[in-house]
């Protein structure tokens, strides 16, 4: 019974933890412009993140080494540093987007200008990282994030033309009134939103925080293989709601209030309050994960002591670097830049940075010095390499598409 509870908890946490500000915004934007025409990208992204998370979790549990320790060992100091710089900066952009997302969710709840909420959000993130246990922060935000299921409920309550939605999903391709490049730009953005590198820094470092051994791998596989696809379904529901309400009305998504508009229309104030709690939990959880990831990547490259299982004074540089990152995020948001815009850029650049961390993990997962006989099997390597090609293609296409389409305008 206790085991069943632990399994259920893990799966639920994975569902709630899958969606962050990047998924919320990108799926709504895509739904309002292409309907479900890009739902296939979410599927590709979900399978990708399952493979990637599973592989990095296994590497962490078996070898006891986290992602950036391995990247430095394998790539040496120079290429490792270039990798760190790219990954770290993109992660910092994501921290900024998530903290901004928390502020926007609080604005939705209170109508108080997000400028006031930004320092509160950042302080909240810091105090939780400073004081709360790892399992606690993961479980609470994951479970509260489950209220985002209201997007799926809303989709049913809107009683859409299911045939039309299925038609959009099954006949992918750019609609007549949108340029082909824009379609592919959003495909890359959606892929980047589903497969964000921080998820893996967090997953592999988290495996070490929670002292995983090989015995925990079966549990983690279940969490990943059940939780992430269900999280992906939530993503598609967000796009579906936008496709039903925003697409016919030709409403462009430029703020969170437009993201939640279909839910409010379907379920009124009660649904709206659920969705606000869900967005708050999802962005807050992701803000915790990205902030921790910035500390993890730096500490692991330089060999500092790290981990939430230690007292802060026993991982001093790790905690200091996270405080500095949060201050930088607040400073960026204080310039008045739109958090939604930061989010849109962060998901595209996530796609650019993805191969930098994916490839070393794939290589180590085949290295017997680290993995003993738990190296990748043939099937895993085949799928892993197919994804390597997809990830490289998305990374190479991202910046040209960003320029050609003027960021999807």
């Amino acid at each position: 019974m206790k085991n069943l509870f632990a399994v259920a908890l893990g799966v639920l946490t994975a569902i709630g933890g899958f969606v962050d500000i990047g998924d919320l915004v990108t799926n709504a934007v895509v739904g309002s412009r292409f309907g479900l025409g890009l739902a296939w990208v979410v599927l590709v992204g979900v399978v990708g993140i399952c493979i990637y998370a599973q592989m990095s979790g296994r590497v962490a549990a078996v070898s006891g080494r986290a992602t950036f320790e391995i990247i430095r060992e394998r790539l040496g100091p120079r290429a490792g540093l270039a990798n760190l710089a790219a990954s770290f900066l993109i992660n910092l952009l994501t921290v900024t987007a998530e903290v901004g997302g928390v502020a926007l969710a609080l604005q939705l709840a209170t109508s108080v200008d997000p400028g006031w909420w930004i320092p509160v959000a950042a302080f909240g993130v810091w105090i939780v990282i400073w004081r709360a246990r790892f399992e606690l922060l993961e479980n609470v935000t994951g479970l509260l994030g489950l209220t985002l299921i209201v997007f799926a409920v809303a989709l049913f309550m809107l009683s859409p033309d299911w045939g039309e939605l299925a038609g959009q999903a099954l006949q992918p391709g750019p609609p007549a009134d949108e340029p082909v490049a824009t379609y592919w730009f959003y495909a890359v953005a959606l892929f980047g939103a589903a497969m964000t590198p921080y998820e893996v820094f967090f997953f592999s470092s988290g495996a070490i925080e929670e002292k995983w051994t090989e015995k925990d791998l079966a549990k983690s596989r279940l969490n990943v293989l059940v939780g992430f696809p269900l999280g992906g379904l939530l993503s598609i529901a967000i796009a579906g709601c936008a496709a039903v309400v925003l697409l016919p009305a030709a409403i462009d998504v430029t703020s969170l209030s437009q993201v939640v508009l279909p839910v409010a229309e379907a379920g009124g104030k009660i649904a709206l309050s659920f969705v606000i709690v869900g967005i708050l939990a999802a962005t807050f959880g992701a803000a915790l994960e990205t902030t921790l990831s910035s500390g993890y990547t730096l500490a692991q490259y330089f060999g500092w002591s790290w981990g939430k299982f230690r007292k802060p004074a026993k991982a001093a540089r790790f905690h200091l670097s996270m405080i500095v990152c949060l201050l930088i995020a607040v400073a960026i948001l204080a310039t008045g830049v739109d958090p939604i815009l930061v989010t849109e850029y962060s998901v595209v650049f996530s796609a650019v940075a993805l191969p930098l961390t994916y490839l070393p993990i794939l290589i180590i997962a085949n290295d017997r010095e680290y993995m003993g006989d738990r190296v990748n099997g043939r099937g895993m390597n085949f799928v892993g390499q197919v994804y390597l090609v997809i990830i490289l293609a998305a990374a190479l296409a991202a910046i040209p598409l960003l320029i050609i389409t003027g960021a999807g305008a």
Partner: protein
């Protein structure tokens, strides 16, 4: 291995230590090395580049100290010709701190600025380099101690376990 409160660690590293001397480096269970070249050194052969540089250094309790930023060799002059039959150089220390910059950008760090962990403190080499002493006893961890004492330790709650 990252567990600070790992009660078994002493036993564990003893075991690792034996393991280093007895077996070949791919860790084959109980498999002995094939017949050696008589001139080859006894024990496990480490490739400094592959097995030492950029590895994580852990202290006696498994606390990360630093990464192996560089190595100090004795008995060899950089740039000088090595005469045949001259004695092999010895590994004297793990270098860290400014040494990372010289590996990134080239050049030499002044000897006074070097932060070294004497090689004799190393107790085991696996996927990490383990030391037989506590991190706090090393010069190499002065930055961590400084940040801990003057910044992080002064923030309320900084010296408590997370709840």
């Amino acid at each position: 291995m990252n567990d600070e409160h790992d009660h078994d660690h002493d036993h564990d590293h003893e075991h690792e230590h034996e393991h280093d001397h007895d077996h070949d480096h791919d860790g084959g269970a109980g498999r002995r090395m094939p017949r050696r070249d008589p001139r080859a050194p006894r024990g496990r052969v480490l490739d400094a580049h592959l097995h030492l540089l950029d590895r994580q250094v852990l202290d006696r309790e498994g606390v990360p100290v630093t990464t192996v930023d560089d190595l100090e060799l004795d008995g060899i002059e950089p740039g000088a010709r090595i005469e045949p039959g001259s004695p092999p150089p010895t590994l004297t220390a793990i270098l860290t701190g400014p040494q990372l910059l010289t590996r990134l950008f080239g050049g030499h760090a002044p000897a006074a600025r070097r932060i070294a962990i004497p090689w004799k403190l190393v107790s085991a080499v696996g996927t990490t380099v383990r030391l037989g002493v506590d991190a706090d006893s090393l010069d190499a961890s002065w930055v961590e101690r400084w940040v801990s004492r003057h910044l992080i330790g002064r923030i309320p709650g900084g010296r408590h376990d997370p709840e």
